[in-house]
C-alpha cells in the first residue's frame, strides 16, 4: 500500500464506475493525489471508493452525480470543487479526467429517439457543461490539466456507429478549441482516443481485436497528462488505422461497410 510521500493536488475523476475511470483513479491515487470521484449514486460507487481508499491509503471523496443533470453539473462543480463549505475557498484541483460516456447500440439509437437523446445528453451536453466549468476554474488558476476520454469513433462517421462517433467528434472538436484557449494560460487539454477497450462493451462482441486493458488506457492517460500532450491514441497504432480510414476517398468509402 502506498503511503503518499508528498501531498499533491487533487485530481477529479468523472465516471469512476467505468473500468477506465476506476483504473485512472487508482493510478493518480498511487501517485499521491487525493481524489474526488463521481459516478451514478449507488453501491457500485461506494464499493469502488472504498476499494481505492483501502488499496492506496489515499483520501477519496465520492459523490453520486447523475450525468443527466446537465446544466446543474456546473453548480455541482462550483459547490464541490471550487467553493467547498460556505465561506471557504478550495485549492483548485490539479487535474480533471472525464471518463463517463453512454454507448447504446447504433441500431437502437436509430430507432429510439429517447435513447438517442440520452446519449447526446451525457456525451455532449453534460460533458460540455463540465468541460466549461472546469476550464473556467483552471484558467483562473493558471495551471492544471483537463483530460477527456473520447474515442477513435469520432475520427470519421461510419455507418456502424456514426451516432456515437458524432458525439465523440463533438467532444474532440470542443477540446481542440479549448486547447488553444487554455494553452495560453498554461493548462493542458488532453484528448485521449482509445480503440477497443476490454470491458463489458466489447466482451463477446464479434469484430473486436487487440482490445486494450482499462489499466493500459489509464497508463496512457497518465503519461499524456504528464507530458502535456494534445491528442493521444491508445494503443498508439490506432493513430495509423484512423489515418488510413480518414484518407479513404468518399466514393470508395460509400462502397465499404465500415
Amino acid at each position: 500500500m502506498a503511503t503518499p510521500s508528498s501531498q499533491r493536488g487533487r485530481v477529479v475523476v468523472f465516471g469512476v464506475t467505468s473500468p477506465i475511470g476506476r483504473a485512472v483513479a487508482a493510478r493518480f491515487a498511487r501517485d499521491g493525489h487525493p481524489l474526488v470521484v463521481t459516478g451514478r449514486p449507488g453501491p457500485e460507487l461506494d464499493r469502488i471508493a472504498s476499494d481505492l481508499r483501502l488499496r492506496t491509503g489515499q483520501t477519496v471523496e465520492a459523490h453520486g452525480v447523475d450525468a443527466l443533470s446537465r446544466a446543474e453539473l456546473a453548480d455541482w462543480w462550483r459547490k464541490t470543487c471550487v467553493e467547498g463549505e460556505p465561506g471557504q475557498s478550495l485549492e483548485p484541483p490539479e487535474g480533471v479526467v472525464v471518463c463517463w460516456g453512454d454507448m447504446p447500440e447504433q441500431d437502437e439509437g436509430q430507432r429510439e429517439a429517447a435513447r438517442l437523446c440520452q446519449m447526446i445528453d451525457v456525451n455532449v451536453a453534460a460533458t460540455f457543461v463540465v468541460m466549461e466549468a472546469v476550464a473556467a476554474t483552471l484558467e483562473a488558476a493558471g495551471r492544471g490539466f483537463l483530460c477527456v476520454v473520447t474515442s477513435v469513433a469520432g475520427d470519421r462517421g461510419r455507418p456502424s456507429n456514426y451516432l456515437y462517433g458524432a458525439t465523440k467528434a463533438a467532444q474532440s472538436t470542443a477540446l481542440e478549441g479549448m486547447r488553444v484557449r487554455l494553452g495560453k494560460r498554461g493548462v493542458a487539454v488532453v484528448d485521449v482516443r482509445p480503440g477497443f477497450v476490454d470491458t463489458g462493451l466489447t466482451w463477446g462482441r464479434p469484430g473486436v481485436f487487440l482490445a486494450a486493458s482499462p489499466d493500459s488506457v489509464a497508463a496512457s492517460i497518465e503519461r499524456a497528462v504528464r507530458k502535456g500532450r494534445g491528442v493521444v491514441y491508445t494503443p498508439f497504432f490506432w493513430r495509423f488505422i484512423m489515418l488510413a480510414i480518414r484518407m479513404i476517398p468518399g466514393p470508395l468509402f460509400r462502397r465499404l461497410s465500415l
Binding site: 456502424s160 463489458g200 462493451l201 463477446g204
Partner: protein, 474 residues
C-alpha cells in the same frame, strides 16, 4: 467503440449476457474444454447471468489455479469473477478484511502486509482468488497449527441459483457455510467475504532446514519437533529408493520478530519481505524430453546435496511462494503440462501408506520434482474439505514422458490411498473415479442434502462435479 467490419445484422444479446466461447484449462493444462465465458462487471450483471436460462449450467472461476477441471464447464457457462474485485473494509481492531470474491491473496498481502497483517492460510501460490480459496478450503504449511482457510472465515454472501443472496456464517445458514467451504463452487457464487487476517511482526521468517535420510526419520522429526513451528513442510525425493526411500529436506519456520532482523531492516523496513510481480518468466514450453528420469535424478541429487541443516532468515515471499517468482513455471512441463496428485493418509497407517505410494513412484521411475510432504492437524467442518489428520503427499506428474499414462498411474495411486483410508484433493484432481468419492469424502451425503436445498435444479455444475458425480447420480 464500434464493430469495424460488422454490419450489425445479428442482434447481440443484452450486454450482461454476452459470452465468449473459448477453450480454457486449469493450471495443469489438462483437460482443455470449450466453455462460454461470462465476465460481469457489476452485481446486477452477475445476477442477470445467473437468472438467465441461456446456459444449461454455470460455474464461477477466479484465477484458474486449480489444476484439473474444477473451474471448467464443457458445453456450459463459466462466470469469470475478475471484475468484481473490490476491497470493501478493514477493521484494524479485529484484523478482519471484507472484500469481494475475486480479490486475490496476492493483492491482500500487498495491501495489508505493510500494515502488519498476513494471509492466515496460504497455499503455495498467492495468485488465487478469495472465492477460489474458499471453494477449495485451501490449506498451507501451517495447517497443523492454524487449520484450513475456513477456520479464519467469518462470513460470506452467496448468490444462489434462485437469485437469492444468502448470508452464511457459523450462526446463520451454517449448513450452507460448511457446504460452500471446500464445496468447489457448487452451492453458488460467493460475492464477498469477511476473513480474519493474521497479525505478524515482520515480513520475514526464520527457516530451519533439517535433512532426514529416509521416511521414518522424516516422520519422527515431524512428530517430535513440529510443536515449535507455525509452518512445517518437507521436500521429498520421490526418486530415492531402498534405504533412502522418502529422504526429505524438512523446512520449518516461524515469523521472525523484529529483533531477529539485521539493524538496517528494522522499523519501517520490517515488512519488506514480500516482493511484487514475478521477476523471471519461463518464456516457452520446454520440449517434453527435458524433464525425464535422468534430469530429474540430477535435480533431486542437487537439491538434496545443496541443502544443509541450519537456520536461515528469509523473506516471506521466498518461503511461501518459491514458484510464484517464476511466471508460468508450469511451462517446464512442456505443452502437455502436468497433473498434480495430492492425497492424505490418515492414522494409524500413515507410514505404510506413504511408503507404498513412494515405492510405486520409485518403481515406475516417475519423475516428480515438486514432491511435498506435510503433517495435517485437526479437520475443519467443511463437508468436502480435504485436510484431515494424517500426512499429505503432493507430487506432480508430467503428462508426457514417464507420466504419460497418468490416468493409469493415478488409478494405482488411488488404490493405495483408498486401501489406507485416505483421500485425494479435488482442487488438484483430473483423474479420480466417482466410485472413490464416497469413501474419500464421507460427509458427501450431507453435502448433497444441502445442494438439494440451495440448488435443486443443479444450475451450478463444473466438469469436475459431473465427472465425480458430486451432486449425486444424475
Amino acid at each position: 467503440m464500434s464493430d469495424l467490419g460488422s454490419d450489425g445484422a445479428n442482434a447481440l444479446p443484452a450486454r450482461a449476457l454476452r459470452s465468449k466461447r473459448q477453450s480454457i484449462h486449469g493450471w495443469g493444462h489438462y483437460p482443455v474444454e470449450e466453455c462460454s465465458l461470462y465476465r460481469p462487471e457489476r452485481f446486477s450483471e452477475l445476477a442477470e447471468v445467473v437468472a438467465s436460462a441461456e446456459e444449461p449450467s454455470l460455474i464461477a472461476r477466479g484465477l484458474g489455479r486449480s489444476y484439473g477441471d474444477a473451474s471448467l464447464n464443457g458445453g456450459g457457462g463459466v462466470v469469470l469473477s475478475e471484475r468484481l474485485d473490490r476491497i470493501l473494509d478493514f477493521d484494524r481492531e479485529t484484523g478482519v478484511v471484507w472484500c469481494e470474491a475475486a480479490v486475490s491473496l496476492a493483492e491482500l498481502i500487498d495491501v495489508f502486509l505493510p500494515q502488519g497483517y498476513f494471509f492466515p492460510v496460504t497455499p503455495g501460490t498467492k495468485w488465487i482468488s478469495l472465492g477460489g480459496a474458499i471453494a477449495a478450503d485451501v490449506h498451507g504449511k501451517n495447517h497443523h497449527r492454524d487449520g484450513s482457510l475456513s477456520n479464519w472465515l467469518e462470513e460470506f454472501r452467496l448468490l444462489t441459483a434462485s437469485g437469492e443472496v444468502l448470508r452464511c456464517s457459523r450462526e446463520e445458514n451454517a449448513d450452507v457455510f460448511w457446504a460452500t467451504a471446500g464445496g468447489m463452487g457448487l452451492t453458488g457464487i460467493v460475492l464477498d467475504a469477511r476473513l480474519r487476517l493474521k497479525k505478524i511482526d515482520t515480513g520475514f521468517v526464520n527457516v530451519d532446514y533439517e535433512k532426514a535420510p529416509n521416511l521414518d526419520a522424516a516422520l519422527e522429526s515431524f512428530l517430535l519437533r513440529d510443536e515449535a513451528y507455525d509452518y512445517s513442510v518437507a521436500w521429498i525425493d520421490t526418486m530415492a529408493s531402498g534405504s533412502k526411500l522418502g529422504r526429505s529436506v524438512l523446512m520449518r519456520a516461524n515469523f521472525a520478530g523484529e529483533s531477529d532482523l539485521p539493524a538496517n531492516r528494522r522499523g519501517d523496513r520490517r515488512f519488506e519481505g514480500v516482493s511484487g510481480m514475478p521477476s523471471v518468466a519461463v518464456p516457452f514450453h520446454f520440449p517434453s524430453a527435458t524433464l525425464n528420469n535422468w534430469t530429474l535424478k540430477l535435480f533431486n541429487e542437487f537439491f538434496w546435496g545443496v541443502h544443509r541443516d541450519g537456520r536461515v532468515l528469509a523473506g516471506a515471499d521466498r518461503f511461501f511462494y518459491p514458484l510464484d517468482t517464476v511466471h508460468h513455471w508450469n511451462r517446464v512441463y512442456g505443452t502437455q503440462g502436468a497433473i498434480q496428485y495430492q492425497a492424505v493418509i490418515p492414522p494409524p497407517h500413515e507410514r505404510e501408506g506413504l511408503a507404498a505410494m513412494l515405492e510405486l513412484l520409485s518403481r515406475k521411475k516417475l519423475p516428480s520434482f515438486l514432491a511435498v510432504l506435510k503433517p495435517f492437524g485437526p479437520k475443519g467442518d467443511g463437508l468436502l474439505s480435504f485436510p484431515r489428520p494424517g500426512y499429505t503427499l503432493s507430487i506432480d506428474l508430467p503428462v508426457s514422458g514417464g507420466g504419460g499414462d497418468f490416468p493409469a498411474i493415478a488409478r494405482e495411486l488411488d488404490e493405495v490411498v483408498l486401501r489406507f483410508g485416505g483421500s485425494v484433493y479435488l482442487a488438484k484432481d483430473s483423474c479420480l473415479h466417482p466410485d472413490s468419492i464416497e469413501s474419500m469424502y464421507p460427509q458427501i451425503a450431507t453435502f448433497r442434502d444441502v445442494l438439494q436445498r440451495v440448488d435443486p435444479e443443479r444450475r451450478f455444475q463444473s466438469s469436475l462435479s459431473r465427472r465425480l458425480e458430486l451432486a449425486g447420480k444424475a
